[in-house]
């Protein structure tokens, strides 16, 4: 059972990495429009939090959504088409890199306003509670977002109404180029949970099993109607903030320390050490993922552009 889970987690984390690295190369080749924020190094957060969730559970993401989307089950092909702005994209090409998602698998189209998805997640939780569903909402955001007013208001609302929301702060030590040392006067963002009378917990965000364990505690609590939790996942983004960022603001020692704790490597080592699978099996997984991503690229490049005649479509809802 655990073996299956670990391999599935590995598969997902590898898929995320493969997908995002491929995007990066597509940008370098100059054939992909816009920009991207990679979650490189934070794959354990996405997968640990979302592994095993129901399709009817919701997930709300940020400007850095690819990992969360894939872990929640959004099709890589749909996402890739979206990256190219094609009509077959998950948002019909209208959204772009910062808005991917698929409501049919519970992935709320992502939000590019830092902190903007937090009060919305509270609202989703509110409706779930009113509907007496035992589904939950997992709301991701960064260390930077925890300084937004939307964070404060959203968490307070979820706490006083005891809503089934898991607030997940992926603390990767930086908001864009700015270190948390300059934006927070506290060590642990999890501490902010106290302001709302909500449990808060610090978790090793690069250890997918630690994340998974914390997630299960919070999800169980939420499903039982006991209210929200704030999890702070300590992690690190290996890539730059966005495609043009060389991370000149980080020092080598810090980078080296964190790079040595690459979450995919950590999981791989565990799998190998516990003999859950051998190198070959993991290589096969990766190859399969490459194939998925490459097929998605090929499809997306050929896929058709949206028609300008439809440009006004969905400014307002077109009917169910």
């Amino acid at each position: 059972m655990e073996a299956k889970m670990l391999l599935e987690m590995y598969e997902q984390m590898d898929l995320i990495r493969t997908y995002e690295e491929t995007l990066y190369y597509l940008f370098l080749e100059g054939i992909m429009p816009g920009s991207i924020h990679q979650s490189h190094g934070q794959e354990a957060c996405a997968v640990g939090m979302l592994y095993g969730l129901r399709k009817t559970d919701y997930m709300a993401s940020t400007h850095r959504p690819a990992g969360h989307d894939i872990a929640k089950g959004v099709s890589v092909k749909d996402m890739m088409c979206e990256m190219f702005g094609k009509e077959d994209g998950c948002c019909k090409g209208r959204g772009g890199a910062m808005h991917t998602g698929d409501i049919t698998v519970g992935a709320i189209p992502a939000n590019a306003i830092v902190g903007g998805n937090i009060p919305i997640s509270t609202g989703i939780g509110l409706s779930l509670k009113m509907q007496k569903r035992d589904d939950v909402v997992v709301c991701f955001f960064g260390d930077g977002a925890s300084n937004e007013g939307a964070f404060h208001e959203g968490l307070n609302g979820a706490a006083i109404w005891k809503l089934p929301v898991i607030f997940v702060c992926e603390n990767n030590l930086y908001g864009a180029s700015t270190s948390i040392k300059n934006t927070l006067n506290i060590e642990d963002i999890a501490l902010r949970a106290d302001s709302y009378g909500m449990p808060g917990e610090v978790v090793d965000g690069n250890d997918v099993l630690a994340v998974y364990a914390a997630a299960q505690r919070a999800i169980t609590r939420a499903r039982k109607g006991e209210g929200p939790t704030l999890l702070e996942l300590k992690t690190y983004r290996i890539a730059g903030h966005s495609r043009s960022d060389g991370c000149a603001y980080r020092d080598d020692v810090e980078e080296a320390e964190w790079f040595a704790r690459d979450p995919i490597e950590l999981l791989k080592n565990k799998i190998l050490k516990e003999k859950i699978a051998d190198e070959q099996i993991l290589a096969d997984i990766h190859e399969k993922n490459e194939q998925i991503v490459n097929e998605a690229v090929d499809y997306a490049i050929e896929a058709k552009e949206p028609s300008v005649d439809d440009v006004l479509l969905n400014v307002y809802w077109e009917g169910d």
């Binding site: 959204g95 306003i113 409706s127 509907q131 969905n314 307002y316």
Partner: protein, 338 residues
Amino acid sequence: MAQLTMVQALNKAIADEMERDSSVFCLGEDISDKDGGFGGAFAVTRGLYEKFGEERVLNTPISEILISGAAIGAAMVGSRPIADLQYGDFIFCMMDQLCNQAAKMCYMSGGQVKVPMVLRAPVGATQRGAQHAQSLEGFFTRVPGLKVICPATPYDAVGLLKTAIRDDNPVIVFEHKKLYGGKRVEAGAIAPVGEVPDKEYTIDFGKAEIKREGTDITIVANLLMMYRAMEAASHLEKEGISCEVIDPRTLVPFDFDTVIKSVKKTGRLMIVHEDTYSNGWGAEISAYVAEHAIYYLDAPIVRVTTYDTPIPFSPVLEDYVIPSTERIIESVRQLMDS
């Protein structure tokens, strides 16, 4: 047929819809009258708690990002929230949620999600100073994805609010404090009482109402200004000036057809609103007509609006900056002479 004030009409529309559809609920500051609460800053939501319980008449913290975000999130997954602002001016505290989230969600997601929410926001100056006085329509008539409505009569309040609640898009409802009626009587309030049929009805958006037919000039006016325009029209009739007064009722969508048809008849257009002069909602109406119907005009398009100042507290100054019936009359006279 019941004779209702605006407050009663709005309350009725909400209660009817909550009765009809269990996914409708209200949220906002002090909206519940549980245990002696206000039942809304202007008592619009009074009595709803007793009928529908605490969960569906939800008092929130003073937390406008929360109110709007909660409404949006709930709307995205099956609820139909009616959010309440105590004074419209506080809408700026939730501006990101309205303009970047609610308005864009359906489009950005390629039509995956809808946001069927209503936000009710009282506007108008009532001697409370600049942060409790603004008319805000023009901020939102420029946000694709939002609808904006301004019911001015009890009949319209019921019909339009019901349509708003059933609409699958975010709708902002601007209500005027001086039209509410009810316990708080503001200086200069009108508090119209109007007939509301017992039989259920809704009013489609985008249908202006010709409140008074006329031949010399078309006056488009909303909310309190519609009443002042009507009063002005009565006076002017005695001087032999025949005004056609149109209440657009909804600003987005806007019934340009009715306005242009009227302008074709009268050759003159005046827009009267409590919104600012510069880029008030009337700017769009004027510009639209100047673009699509200029050849029917015999005279400049005139806007009679609040002057471009923060609203002053002093009653003397407040009365001066907001268009009065006299200012409308004078402006019409001038326009007829031009």
